[in-house]
Amino acid sequence: MHAAHEPDDDPDGSGQRRFDELIAADSRIEPSDWMPAAYRKTLVRQISQHANSEIIGMQPEGNWITRAPSLKRKAILMAKVQDEAGHGLYLYSAAQTLGTDRDTMFEHLITGKAKYSSIFNYTTPTWADMGSIGWLVDGAAICNQVPLCRASYGPYGRAMVRICKEESFHQRQGFEILLELMRGTPAQREMAQESVNRWYAPALMMFGPPDADSPNSQQSMAWKIKRFSNDELRQRFVDMLVPQAEILGVTLPDPDLKWNQERGHYDFGELDWNEFTEVLAGRGPANAIRVSRRRAAHENGEWVREAARAYADKQASLAAAQAPTHEWMAS
């Protein structure tokens, strides 16, 4: 366990100076470096939220593993959900380097204290949602995360490098699911379009509120955790989506969406931020089942973890009893 550095740890200010230099030089902060308490706190919150999102994000897709309509898709989907569990574990490890242990973070998740990405409070009533999540949700995640590969905190940046690779793979798989549907029967095409209609706006809101309403972003950018503002990332995402939607043949559900020659970007309509706030406040379509489902799994598994602990303890005391006496005790 890593002990937290408090301001007291840096009486002469040398830690802060070194930290500022590293940030200014675009270098990495490593676990053993001094860092401001607020920087640490921001990172723990962000990384553990990200981990929680991966874990909760398993559910909307896990919903279709048993019903995937072809064995190939079943295998891809299962692997994807497995990747998400892996990302969760990987990110928890990164957060642990900041002195917060995994059990605490997980406990905060299943008691509802910790947040996770609001997008996973939407549900997946149709198979096409496996496509939309990959294409739109993972797509937005990538726009968000690629800059995070250069985040100033070393373990986080490195975790993101690995995660981004897999995410871009996931996005392409989602795109392919939708493409197959759009080239399929009328019922399949309708399924794809209906799903895109539901996921488009929530995906755009994944970048967070407009810059004007996002006061914390400023500090994160100064610390080089965040590299671009919410609105910049959102614009980048929309610009990326439009040509892909054309290839798919799906209509993005925004009548105001059009190319702005002057800006060199697509204009798009106002988003329903009231919806965003509602979901964030726990009143999304699936908030009620997401955490309780993971908590139920955790509680049902308590006897298993207890057995594993008991067994490990027994093995440890057995090993201790059988260990040869240390030399300094022998002589």
Binding site: M58, S70, L71, K72, A75, M78, V81, Q82, A297, V304
Partner: protein
């Protein structure tokens, strides 16, 4: 040949049905590491199933998906062990222990088959099921020797699944006559795998401080299309979407 295809179909159904069961654990495992481990095993099994069903289907002009999604319960020829419900984690581990030990013997023998497709699939699978057995055996120890509750549950899990172990070694579905000749040397005779299983699994169970069950074995007949009542709902869920859109491509 048709006999070889039917042989591959049986093995493929075993792997497919077990993968489907393990898939039900995803997001419900006792810890994240087990979400990963169980879906890893499920993915391996699904891979075996796809290779085997593709090979079987090639004899009949059918795809893996034709076989997986458009057969009814009596046409599925998996052994009954694989369709048994997950129960609690101990019951899943018991099923997995028996299954993995059986698969190791099977794929070891089959990797020497003169049929290059079967031997190739088997050789690749062998490495994977070796890991699967390791996973179950570890948990068998932990649960058998962990707490009083885990011991009780693990024993109950073994008792529940053990009755389906005998069927794995039944030669009930071996073809006769000309088909038998076509299959001779290519397929593994199930009963030939019993000795290896008996030398391994009871020892693992005993080492975990548990008792090798002695209840009478189930009759089996899975290879002949006879199933316990747990298979029907499993197939209903697995096949629902594909069947609502017959002929669609995904």
């Amino acid at each position: 040949s048709d006999a070889v295809a039917r042989y591959a179909l049986g093995l493929g159904d075993d792997a497919l049905v077990l993968a489907q069961r393990l898939g039900e654990w995803v997001t419900n495992a006792p810890e994240l590491e087990e979400d990963v481990a169980l879906s890893n095993i499920a993915l391996d099994l699904l891979g075996h199933a796809r290779s085997l069903l593709t090979y079987a289907g090639s004899a009949w002009g059918q795809s893996e998906d034709d076989l997986a999604y458009f057969r009814d319960e009596p046409q599925f020829v998996n052994r009954q062990l694989f369709e048994q419900p997950n129960g609690d984690f101990a019951q899943t581990i018991a099923r997995q222990l028996i299954a993995s030990a059986y698969f190791i013997g099977l794929y070891r023998a089959l990797s020497a088959s003169p049929d290059p497709m079967l031997s190739g699939i088997a050789a690749k699978a062998l490495k994977e099921v070796d890991y699967h057995l390791d996973h179950s055996a570890q948990w068998l120890l932990r649960l058998g020797q962990g707490t009083a509750e885990s011991h009780r549950r693990m024993q109950r899990g073994l008792d529940t699944m053990w009755v389906f172990s005998d069927e794995l070694f039944s030669d009930d579905s071996l073809p006769t006559g000309q088909d038998a000749a076509a299959l001779a040397g290519i397929a593994v005779t199930p009963s030939s795998l019993r000795e290896g299983f008996d030398a391994l699994v009871p020892r693992l169970i005993t080492e975990a401080g548990l008792t090798v069950p002695s209840a009478p074995y189930a009759r089996g007949g899975g290879r002949l299309g006879v199933h316990t009542e747990y298979l029907g709902p499993l197939l209903a869920e697995m096949q629902v979407l594909a069947r609502v859109h017959p002929g669609a491509s995904w």
